[in-house]
């Protein structure tokens, strides 16, 4: 459905996007993940025909974005970061205007408008001035605008930015409900959004694609390691030594919590490792009170991937077990 090949975008001497290539199949939801200024918006603007690429080609539904922009634009619904709304218009009038722009036949207009109003649940504000709407409703009207011509491809630039948690959940659900009939590309710098909604993640940093895979594969394979949390009672240095001797284990760290030791064991990817760890503890006669496999979250990978050429200090911070412990660190911090 979407094919991007070797796309580079320069703004004068500054390079916003560097030789980016990827494909998106029909019906996929793909998340663009990256820090602010990574080139997400630029890539999306190139796809929607708002900006021409400096080099490379982008195809949407088989049409070249530069050579046949009108055909591409007919097939794309685009919600920019700031929804393109006219505050002085009423919601219905606005949607009617957009419907005309998108080339919907006048006989079809009312049906399409009703359908997107229904879809995005903005029925109770449809006669209000857009300027009077809350941020959440504006975002929905923005989505309604993008959906009105039932495009094959939906491009959503940070669809949940600036919304409150409840609105975020609603918008995410809405996006998920659109999967299947539309191919969706959404950008975000919020990690849970990607793991929650997207079938595939493309991580962009400084204009380059750093990774392109499913969230699951990214969390498991890319990592090449696993972490296990053990709750044990036993002498601390003994535990540290013995667990460290288990084959495949790379690092062990423990801390005392209410008379028991809570240990974090990092080991190579091997399904046998948890069993070996449990055996070791039990065979030595210590009590095993808890055991949990810690999945390394997208956040860890994200930080690792986007930090690789930063100062060593930054890398150390990530390697710090506390910072990397997903259980101890809900993703809120990255949300900011």
């Amino acid at each position: 459905m979407i094919k991007v090949e070797g796309v580079t975008k320069r703004y004068g001497p500054a390079v916003a996007v560097k030789n980016v290539s990827f494909k998106v199949e029909r019906g996929e939801i793909v998340g663009f993940l990256g820090p602010n200024g990574a080139g997400k918006t630029t890539t999306m603007r190139i796809l929607t025909g708002f900006l021409p690429p400096t080099e490379g080609t982008a195809l949407v539904g088989g049409y070249d974005v530069q050579k046949e922009p009108i055909e591409v634009k007919k097939r794309i619904g685009y919600l920019p970061e700031t929804p393109p709304l006219y505050p002085e218009m009423e919601v219905v009038d606005y949607l009617r205007f957009v419907a005309k722009l998108k080339g919907i036949e006048s006989g079809d207009e009312n049906r399409r408008i009703d359908s997107v109003i229904d879809r995005t649940s903005i029925g109770d504000v449809k006669d209000k001035l857009i300027g009077k709407l809350s941020k959440g409703y504006r975002q929905r009207v923005g989505l309604a605008q993008a959906l009105i011509h039932s495009p094959d491809v939906l491009v959503l630039d940070e669809p949940t930015s600036g919304l409150d948690p409840k609105q975020i959940i609603e918008v995410r659900e809405l996006i998920r409900s659109l999967a299947g009939e539309h191919t969706i590309i959404l950008s975000t710098h919020i990690l849970p959004e990607v793991s929650g909604t997207c079938g595939r993640v493309i991580i962009i940093n400084e204009g380059r694609i750093e990774a392109n895979d499913t969230p699951e594969n990214l969390t498991s394979q890319l990592q090449g390691a696993q972490a296990v949390r053990l709750e044990v009672d036993g002498p601390e240095d003994e535990v540290l030594r013995r667990l460290g001797d288990v084959p495949g284990v790379n690092a062990v760290s423990c801390e005392n919590a209410a008379g028991r030791l809570v240990c974090r064991v990092e080991a190579e990817k091997d399904p046998e490792t948890p069993r070996r760890l449990a055996d070791a503890v039990v065979n030595l006669g210590w009590g095993l009170y808890g055991m949990q496999s810690l999945s390394l979250s997208l956040e860890d990978i994200f930080l690792k991937l986007t930090d690789h050429d930063k100062a060593p200090a930054a890398r150390d911070a990530v390697a710090d077990p506390e910072a990397a412990d997903p259980a101890a660190e809900p993703p809120e911090e990255v949300n900011e």
């Binding site: 021409p52 218009m89 605008q145």
Partner: protein, 258 residues
């Protein structure tokens, strides 16, 4: 064509959901009303005097077209210098500021459709403004028998001149995100075009002829007398085409610079 109409109608309606349309219409009505009624009062006074002094001694009766209609419409051309920037300032500047230009540029619409739609929207308001003048003028037909043909020609001239000014304003509005800047640029530029022939009007050099041709106001003189001249029409229509063409290039460049 459908796109042009959709954009033009939206633009026209938006004028009325902001104070701009009302301000522009009210100012036009007030100023035109002033010129028209004072002109009419003088005309009545002079005709009475003429009738008393020379009652039918071979003197033709005073011509109301010449004494009232032409000057009051002619005076309005200066008022347009102030009103047109108010009409055109928001055309593109506002879209650029609020980001809605992204909607237009990512919709299956050609650039020239956007430009022409916007310009037509502004022209609709301009014509609504002229309608005020038409209402005033039509009152004359109740009391006397003015010649309607020169009136129409003068109105046509105003529309052409307004079209040219609006096209220039539309172009200048594509250059900035700030409506005030757009209005100031437009006013400054139109004023310059207006006074272009003043300084050189006493010399006969080629430069002065060129300025005379480029200036905005001399081309209206013939229209106000009820004469349609090809060179005046050509001037205004070329100015419209140039303004719209520059707007299109400027809109395109937005894609490269954005």
């Amino acid at each position: 064509m459908k796109n042009v109409a959709a954009i033009a109608m939206r633009e026209f309606k938006v004028y009325f959901s902001s104070p701009i349309a009302y301000i522009v219409l009210a100012m036009f009505a007030a100023i035109f009303g002033y010129f028209f009624s004072t002109g009419l009062a003088y005309f009545a006074q002079f005709s009475a005097q003429a009738a008393m002094q020379g009652g039918g001694m071979g003197m033709p009766p005073l011509n109301i077209n010449q004494f009232v209609v032409a000057p009051s419409l002619g005076n309005m051309t200066i008022v347009l210098l102030f009103l047109v920037p108010m009409i055109t300032m928001r055309l593109f500047a506002e879209e650029k500021r609020s980001g809605t230009v992204e909607l237009l540029l990512t919709s299956p619409v050609k650039d020239y459709e956007i430009i022409i739609g916007k310009w037509l929207g502004a022209m609709l308001l301009f014509c609504a403004m002229l309608l005020v003048a038409v209402i005033n003028l039509s009152l004359l037909f109740f009391y006397t028998t003015p010649d309607w043909r020169p009136m129409l020609v003068a109105l046509l001239g105003l529309i052409l001149m307004g079209g040219a000014m609006t096209a220039v304003g539309a172009f200048l509005s594509t250059l900035t995100k700030n409506q005030i800047v757009a209005a100031a640029l437009t006013f400054g530029f139109l004023l310059l075009l207006w006074v272009l022939n003043w300084a050189t009007s006493f010399s006969n050099s080629t430069l002065s002829e060129l300025f005379e041709f480029l200036a905005l106001s001399p081309h209206f003189e013939q229209f106000s007398k009820g004469v349609i001249e090809l060179k005046d029409c050509t001037y205004y229509i070329s100015a419209i085409a140039l303004g719209l063409f520059l707007s299109k290039r400027s809109l395109e460049s937005l894609r490269w610079r954005a």
